[in-house]
Each structure stands twice: as C-alpha cells, then as structure tokens.
Amino acid sequence: MTTTAAIHVHHVTRVEGHGDIVVDIQNGQVKKAQFEVVEAPRFFEAFVRGRPYFELSHITSRICGICSVGHATASLRATEKALGVEPSEQTVLLRKLIFHGEIIDSHVLHTYMLVAPDFLGVGSVIPLVKTHPDVVLRALRIKKLSGDLCAMVGGRHTHPCAMAVGGFTHLPSEAELRDMRARLVAARADMDATIDLFATLPWPDFNRETEYVSLRKPDEYAFIDGTIVTSDGFSYPIEDYKKVTNEKCVPFSTAKWTHHNRDAYMVGALARFNNNYEQLHPRAKEAAAKLGMKPLVTNTFLNTAAQAIEMVHCIEDSIRIIEELLIRGIKPEQPIVPEKLSGEGVGSCDVPRGILFHHYTYEDGICVAANCIIPTGQNYSNLHADLQALVPQIVNRPQEEIRQTLEMLVRAYDPCISCSTHLLNVEFV
C-alpha cells in the first residue's frame, strides 16, 4: 500500500508532445494530482498575422504532424467563410475522404502503437514485432492504407500540398480511386480483427460522467462543419465557439484550460460517439456492440475503444464516398479564387482528438487576427478532474501500478500536446 509517495512522470512517453504528471500522496491522502504541460509554446496565432490568405492553411497544418489534414481543413473553412468562397460538391467529397484517411491514420497509431503496448506489458510496439507479429503487421497494413489514402487525395500524407482555398490543386485519377476502393473493402477483415482484439482488452474500470462536446450535422456523423452540441443539451453555431471554450491560463501549463456547463468537458472520439452514435455506419454500430458500448459511455479509458469504432465507420464511409465520386466522375476543377479579400470567418472540424476551431480576420488578403483552439487544450481540465477522481480510488495500490495507470489515463486522451500549446489570443477583437 502506498501511504506516502511523490510521483513525477517527467515527459510522459508515447504521447505527442511534452507533459508531466505530478502526484503527491501523504499518509494516504492525495495532496496533489495534476497534469503539467511543459511543451515549448510556438505562437502560431501571433505569427500568421501579416501572412497572405493562401498561406494560412499551409502554415497552420504545421501545428501538428498527426492532424495536419484536420488543421488544414479547419483553416481552409475559416478562410473560405471569411472570403465568401463556397467549395464545390466534388471538393467537399474529397475533403471528407482525406479527413477519413487522417482519422484512421491517427487512430491506428494511437490504438495499436501507443496504447496496445500497455496491455501487452511492453514499453513500445517494437518488441511486439517479434512477439505479436500478426498484430503489428495488421497495424502497419491499416497505417499504410490510411497514409496512402491521404497521399492520394492531398498529394502528401503529412502536410498535404494539394489542399487549397476553394479546392484542390491536384485531383486523384479514377483508376487511383478504384484501386483505393478495392483496398478499403479488403481492409474489412483487418477491422474485424481489430475489434476482436480490443474486445479482449481489460480496460481499467473508472467512470466519471462529464459534459461531452462535439460537432453535429443533421445528415451524417459530423467531422467537418455543422453545429456545436454538448451532452448537457446545449447547441451553438460554430461562430459562437467562445461560449463553449471559455479559456483561461493556469500557471503550471503552457496550454490554456476550458470549461462550459460544468468544471470541465471532454472532446474526441468518445464525445462524438456519445453525441452522434445514431449516425454511425451499421458496421460501426455492430463493432460497438461487440465492445459492449452504447451511449452514454463514461469511462475515459474507452476513448481508445471509441476510436476503434470510428475506424470502422471511416473505412465504410470512405468506400461510399469513392463510389459516389466514381459515379459522378472526377471533374478537372481548379480551386475557386475568392472575389473579396477582407472578412472574418470561423472554421471548425472534429479532428481525431476532438473539436478544433480556427478563427481569422483578413484585410486585403492579409491575415490581421487569428485564434486557434485545439482539442487537447479543451481536454486538460477534464483530464485534471479525472486525475483528481482516479488517484483516491487507486491510492492503495503499489506506486508503480499507480504510475502506470495514470500514464494510461493520460494516453487514453490521445493528447496532442504540441498542438495544444498554440493558444487563444485573450484580447481577440
């Protein structure tokens, strides 16, 4: 039993970016349990001021190497709304397709390569190459497929070069689309095996209900555009995002904190699953049933399982989108050029880790104000509340087990810390 312990996990591993867990237990009482963000701030919102509108999505995609398509898409939507550009139906379909590719890519990285080692008792995916080759090779196949899907549409997997304001500068051929469709159909077997694997994992039993926040659309499981909804029954247009985020600085974190109806809220796959379950593809609902999940799921650790369900959904919806594109035929469209160069717009996407906002103001084609609110930043308050609730429940376990369980909790959020240190401009006008 741990009666007195000071646990400081310096730079939690297998997450994106730098964060520390600090726990102080004295005589069985939890004195301190917090997550500290120590990532170097990069100041994107400050330095995109003065840049021409066509650079914004290319610069802000560099906020994150994992969700560069998500940042590019939110950025393009913000610029398009500010400058009055309405993308074509073909562009909308292609953006959904590349977005699905990124969701699958990010989720397979997190579920298989970052989380699975915790359950298989190893420090990384590398030893699994020898002990569980079938699992690793399956993960690599899905990863390669999703990466190739992103590259087919965006020209490059990380930091897509073909995504532009008003459309795409390069289009996939119908032959490429047909080939990709066949590979996605073949990947169903790997998805079945994935769900079977995750159905066997012993998720820690920890429930704490919170407010779940995501996008929602009337006709589909929302990833791009829509309205902001919360599981506490609130609904806002994207432009009113600050009514949800309410950011503030905290001294031990280079990322800002958010809260809405309660002290904290959660965004990401579990929030989307809880809010938009009905719109999942039937195969994804079957996967959820195998995992024993139906809203409202309040175990944070199951965010990883929700990601596995979303992978099934995105594979199926990608097949549907490609079929629609093939029926329509790929039209040789050029990106739409904006007719006005001044204005203000907010773009929002539900990226792998949750809801993301980009907000820009342009004067004569030059960005004069910018604000980005990142999913991981919105999850810190909730992670903190989870730590406060979880540590007392496990305080009697050996210190090493406490440390590992807390690391697993942090990892369950799939935090993207380097993203989250590009924060709100407090004095935004």
Partner: protein, 261 residues
C-alpha cells in the same frame, strides 16, 4: 561509423529528440520504418519518447527535430551534443528554424501578449533558431516534413561513415526530370529556382508552387527570384512572404551579414 561508437551487439544506439515542432518528421520516420523494417535490425533505438517508454542515455546517434526557442532548450541541446558522436538535424524546424521563425518577424513582447494576454510573462521564449545556431550538426535531413526515402538514404550513409547525399541543386532540376509544366507557365508561383532539391518536387508535382521548406541552395540568386515573382503578379509583400515562410531565419541572417558589409 567508427567502431567505438557501436554498442556491444555491434549496433549503433540511436535516440530521437524533439524541441519546438509538430513531430511530423518523427511520424515520417515511423512511416519510413514500416517499409524499411530492416533498418530496425541495423540500429538499436534507445530513446524515442513519442513511440516508446524506454529512455536509454547511452546513444551514439541523435536525431533532433524542432527549433530552439527558449534558453532552457540550449542546455538540453548541449547535453545531447556531449553524448552523441553524430547529431542529425531532422526536418525544417531543426535545419533552418522553419515556420517557427515567423515569430521573429514580430517584436517578442507583442507575440507573447497576443497569445497569452495578461499571462504573457509566465512562459519562457525567445527568437526561434535552428539547432546549428547552438550546437555543431553533423548531418541534416531537410524538408517539412522530411522525405521518407531521403531519410533512409541519409541514415544508410551515416551508418557506413559516408557524407549524406543531400543535393545542392534546385528543385527545378527534379521538376524537369518529372516533366512537370513549370508553375510560372500556368499562372502560379514557385520558390523552386532557389530551393534545395531532394523532395522529388512534390509540391509542384501536385499543382502547388514550392514554398522553400528545404532551405536555399548555396548562392541563390535572390534578386532574380524576386523579379520573377513580381512578374508573376505578386505584390512586394507577397514576394517577401514567399521568402520568409520557411526561411525567415536565413533571410534575417543574410540581411544582417549584408549590413555588416
């Protein structure tokens, strides 16, 4: 590489580190390893925080992603330099400071206030710089992100003790080899004529002019490049933007050198 740099099993020990960056280059490394699993047999990875829990400190080759953006980064970089026989700058942020250096175009107090408001003084930061501004660097893998195949080529060269094969000719050469129509001929604009090749001209191949993420070639003809961009219809401000998107640090360094002369 030299015998003394190898571990007991004969494999060089490798570590990955990151500073201010998006970690996209390390993810590209993960992607490259998927198709080159043999590389995992040639080296022993002892530290890769993004992908593994183990943290070995007895590495010989250090790959560093990200820019140095605060005084405490310098200390960490110097520790890495002290330990590693070979330090490789991984990607644009480490190589040329990349988009991080865009903040150097604004007064620092203004940048801090814009993002953190009243809490502007809580966080440590200074002008972004490439890691070569702080420590000696033995090899670079340019690009934002790095090119997978180039990563594999550079790693192989480092392992056999050869000079890394990074081209010093411009992107235009690779565009010609790909038989791309020149961006300037289809009403677009491009930094290809002054930018280091090695990416396979990936952006022009996908209809998007080069943005200069791999840094300038040796002795770039900047004045000609500016004239060509202006002839393509860019305003003076937009021409400057093309030069500074990834290369602010280099542009400011050259201006400072020019002022000295």
């Amino acid at each position: 590489m030299a015998e003394e740099n190898k571990s007991a099993n004969g494999k060089p020990k490798v570590a990955f580190f990151d500073f201010a960056c998006c970690e996209g280059c390390q993810l590209t490394v993960v992607d490259a390893l998927q198709t080159h699993l043999d590389l995992l047999d040639a080296v022993e990875i002892v530290q890769f925080r993004e992908a593994m829990s183990e943290r070995g400190e007895d590495y010989q080759i250090a790959f560093v992603e990200g820019s140095c953006t605060r005084p405490s980064d310098e200390e960490r970089l110097k520790q890495i330099r002290q330990q590693a026989a070979i330090v490789v700058a991984l990607g644009a942020c480490a190589h040329i400071a990349g988009v991080n250096a865009l903040k150097n175009l604004h007064p620092l107090p203004d940048v801090r206030r814009w993002v953190y408001g009243d809490c502007a003084d809580w966080y440590e930061t200074y002008e972004a710089r490439p890691i070569s501004a702080v420590i000696a660097v033995d090899a670079v893998i340019p690009g934002c992100p790095i090119d997978r195949e180039e990563f594999v080529r550079v790693v192989k060269a480092v392992l056999i003790g050869k000079a890394p094969p990074v081209p010093d000719y411009p992107v235009c050469v690779e565009c010609k080899l790909k038989e791309n129509v020149c961006m300037f001929h289809i009403g677009k604009f491009c930094m290809g004529p002054v930018t280091r090749a090695g990416c396979g001209a990936i952006c022009p191949t996908h209809g998007d002019g080069c943005e200069g993420c791999r840094g300038f070639i040796p002795s770039p003809n900047e004045n000609s490049m500016k004239d060509v961009l202006a002839d393509a219809g860019l305003t003076a401000e937009e021409v400057m933007a093309r030069f500074t998107m990834f290369n602010t640090y280099q542009v400011q360094e050259r201006l400072a050198e020019g002022a000295k002369k």
